[in-house]
């Protein structure tokens, strides 16, 4: 290798022979992109778009999967859904659950992330311990929580007994919602891991600069760390709300002792929106009506996501957002 070829001046034009393959590559680039993306796109079309469209069609029918005579019923399922008091009561219960659970999960996950980010002996073990519940199957968790909160023999009954308090029927009425909240919060480890990754991505020089400027640890955390982490926290809020809107398995497991049977009927406390959908789809076999309910939920989810994104500009800090880039152009 000669010195001339090894030290080509920066910005020098490529020779015609070197540029030709690059041009050829550019010509093929879209084709290459679609070739690599095709498996995912085909899967998306077959396993997502088609079922979505099929479920949309079903929402205008009285299909139940078994009856020989079924057909188009227009918007009857949607009218029925909007007139069904259980739709509204279960949706209200679900929204309350979202507003309680999402901030609690993100906040508690952040708190744990800050704790296990400290330079302390054994922090690896603590990270593992906090994350461990996430790998416990949700069926097992449901069974354990039923046992823990049993009125007569549960551990909570024993703890209440130490304070002279009588037994509480945790698994009936609205109190069951508290048990479900705790059961899901118990699995806060995944939120902790995401927040921990974001926490470790905060540039040290910014923290040093804040310290030089005399900022205390609280001020640094809230004025430097949290704003830099805000896109990750925002991601968790958006995803957490979408996930929570669709929760149903913990409710069924808490109602049926680890066996989410088709005919499981949770009490009113656990009758959240997706349980309503599940009951209609699988217990009653009314797939058309259940599809309509799901499309209503999809609409609510999309509206929520759009609103959150619209307002996120006020509290989410992006180091180099699109507007900044456009300004630089």
């Amino acid at each position: 290798m000669t010195l001339a070829t090894a030290k080509r001046p920066a910005g020098a034009a490529a020779t015609p022979t070197a540029a030709a393959p690059q041009r050829r590559w550019r010509r093929h680039r879209p084709r290459t992109f679609y070739s690599f993306a095709a498996p995912w796109l085909i899967g998306f079309a077959l396993l997502t778009l088609f079922p979505l469209a099929y479920a949309f069609w079903l929402s205008f029918t009285n299909y139940d999967g078994l009856a020989p005579k079924w057909g188009y019923v227009g918007v009857q399922n949607y009218e029925r859904a909007l007139a069904d008091p259980k739709t509204w009561s279960s949706l209200a219960r679900t929204l309350v659950f979202v507003f309680l659970l999402v901030p609690a999960t993100v906040g508690f996950g952040l708190f744990l992330a800050v704790l296990v980010n400290q330079r302390l002996p054994g922090r690896g073990a603590f990270r593992a311990i906090f994350f461990l519940p996430v790998v416990v199957p949700v069926v097992a968790a449901g069974f354990v929580f039923r046992m823990l909160f049993d009125r007569d023999t549960g551990a909570t009954a024993a703890v209440l007994g130490w304070f002279g308090l009588g037994p509480v029927e945790w698994l009936a009425d609205d109190k069951a919602l508290i048990v479900m909240l705790l059961m899901i919060l118990w699995r806060v480890g995944s939120s902790m891991v995401i927040s921990l990754a974001a926490l470790q991505g905060v540039p040290q020089e910014l923290l040093d600069a804040a310290a030089v400027d005399g900022a205390g640890s609280w001020r640094t955390f809230f004025r430097v760390t949290v704003p830099i982490m805000s896109p990750v926290l925002f991601f968790q809020v958006v995803n957490g709300a979408i996930d929570t809107l669709q929760i149903y398995l913990p409710a069924l497991l808490l109602s049926a002792a680890g066996q989410a049977r088709l005919d499981t009927v949770p009490g009113e406390g656990l009758y959240i929106y997706m349980v309503h959908v599940y009951t209609q789809a699988f217990a009653k076999g009314d797939l058309g009506y259940a599809s309509a309910l799901l499309w209503l939920l999809t609409a609510i989810t999309l509206i929520y996501t759009a609103l959150v994104f619209r307002f996120s500009r006020r509290f989410v800090y992006y180091e180099a957002g699109p507007s900044d880039e456009e300004g630089r152009r």
């Binding site: 079922p51 139940d64 999967g65 020989p68 005579k69 076999g285």
Partner: protein
């Protein structure tokens, strides 16, 4: 450049939106029934693959191995019983060759033309004879309108008279309550008070022993039984309407409401953490449990409870003594099954062959054929007591229709349970419960009947 367009904001936003869309679509997709795996084989004479959809607990590896050894031209493909998957397979026209169902709700499949008429198979069988079939097998009959008449669309593998009662004699002694007679049935009216006397509550208000267990709930089999025991009926002649407002039905509903409110059992306001009351009985926390003969085999895990368990006849109302089955688990052949002959060969083995004999000898319920009844275990004193009580109870078996062909069992369970869970804590009267049930179920029947 690609990397300029893919800012962090876009990445996070896109990921969140995609997650939302994907999650929603997966749920929506759950509602759209796809095709399941079909059965294989299908050669003449039944050879090839035989797809059976049943819980592995009911068709064990030993059963499969024995059958395949005796029928080397058939290979069994066992798939876990899953009603959603069964629906998907039936909808796709690719059903299993054999599926499971309770006799009580078998007309649901028959009225939709989904089940094979088994009468021709029975007529040509040298193993299963019409005259040898136990009374429960009449629940598989359906004539297009009425259950209990017409051709059979399935066969029960074993069953019980499910309103019978198991009494833990030790807990009766501890409560100084005499154990009821095993020759004279209790009256339903006596049960709440008896349960109250057996229930033991500690000083800190915890329940140490419940007096009664089973299924403290409104269920169609229990209600239909209690109505039939008073000489009434729940459905009209063609099963297109239900009436819970009759005096007989109101009395039955009131019984369950009173029992649930008496705090003598698990129930809607006292959920059982284990999910079923059998576990509490086995743990010595339940003095009486209303289960059929099958429960005795399950007591083998706890010998001290097993030996002190007395089997009692089903309670009755003043009137006709009836002791029906609430389930009668069995098998049926879907009309579009690929290997019907192979399926029948398996049913012969399972209902009338070695498998049935072994189940009878293990005491896992009453056998499907009368000729197998003598094989029920009688080796120990307690097994003898159970057997004798069962023999005295058998003459009172009757076919009590619990469902309408037009509505699925899961729908009825869902409506009844939801109503009960709301009625018990809110002190709703039996009349209001009956009105609500009439409205909901009759609306559902009207809606579903048009689709059949």
């Amino acid at each position: 450049m690609y990397d300029r367009k893919l800012s962090r904001r876009r990445l996070l936003g896109g990921a969140a939106a995609l997650a939302g869309a994907a999650a929603s679509s997966s749920l929506l997709a759950a509602c759209s029934v796809g095709s399941g795996s079909g059965s294989g084989g299908g050669a003449r004479g039944g050879s090839g693959t035989l797809t059976i959809m049943m819980p592995p607990s009911e068709i064990t590896d030993e059963v499969i191995a024995d059958f395949e050894a005796a029928n080397p031209d058939i290979k069994i493909n066992l798939i876990q019983f899953d009603r959603t998957r069964l629906t998907a397979m039936l909808a796709a026209g690719e059903p299993p060759d054999i599926a499971r169902e309770n006799a009580t709700y078998s007309a649901f499949f028959a009225v939709r033309g989904l089940a094979e008429n088994l009468d021709p198979y029975i007529q040509n069988s040298s193993v299963i004879k019409e005259s040898d079939l136990a009374g429960i097998q009449d629940l598989w009959r359906f004539d297009g309108t009425r259950q209990g008449q017409g051709p059979r669309y399935g066969l029960t593998m074993d069953y019980s008279q499910d309103a019978m009662i198991w009494a833990n004699e030790s807990l009766f002694e501890q409560a100084n309550v005499p154990v009821p007679s095993d020759t004279t049935p209790l009256a339903f009216e006596e049960l709440p008070d008896l349960a109250r006397r057996l229930t033991k509550i500690t000083n800190d208000e915890k329940t140490e022993v419940f007096g009664y267990g089973g299924e403290v709930n409104l269920t169609m089999p229990q209600l239909a039984h209690m109505v039939a025991a008073q000489g009434g009926r729940l459905y009209n002649e063609d099963f297109t309407a239900v009436d819970f407002s009759s005096p007989e039905a109101l009395k039955a509903i009131q019984f369950w409401l009173d029992l649930a409110r008496a705090n003598v059992s698990y129930g809607p306001t006292r959920p059982n953490p284990a999910g079923w009351d059998g576990a509490a009985y086995q743990a010595g926390r339940l003095a009486m449990v209303s289960y059929g003969y099958w429960f005795g085999a399950g007591l083998a895990q706890v010998p001290e409870i097993q030996q002190r368990s007395k089997f009692l006849p089903a309670p009755t109302f003043a009137g006709k003594r009836v002791s029906p089955s609430y389930a009668g688990a069995g098998v049926w052949i879907p009309a579009k099954a690929k290997n019907k002959e192979g399926a029948w060969r398996f049913i012969e083995y399972f209902i009338g062959g070695e498998a049935a004999k072994k189940r009878a000898e293990a005491g896992r319920g009453l056998p499907p054929l009368k000729s197998l009844e003598s094989r029920l275990p009688q080796d120990t004193p307690y097994q003898k007591q159970w057997y004798d009580t069962q023999q005295r109870e058998l003459p009172y078996f009757d076919v009590v229709v619990v469902g309408t062909p037009y509505v699925s069992s899961a729908s009825l369970i869902s409506i009844l349970t939801t109503e009960f869970k709301s009625a018990v804590p809110n002190n709703t009267s039996a009349g209001k419960v009956a009105d609500s049930l009439n409205r909901q179920i009759n609306e559902l029947i009207a809606q579903e009947k048009d689709k059949v």
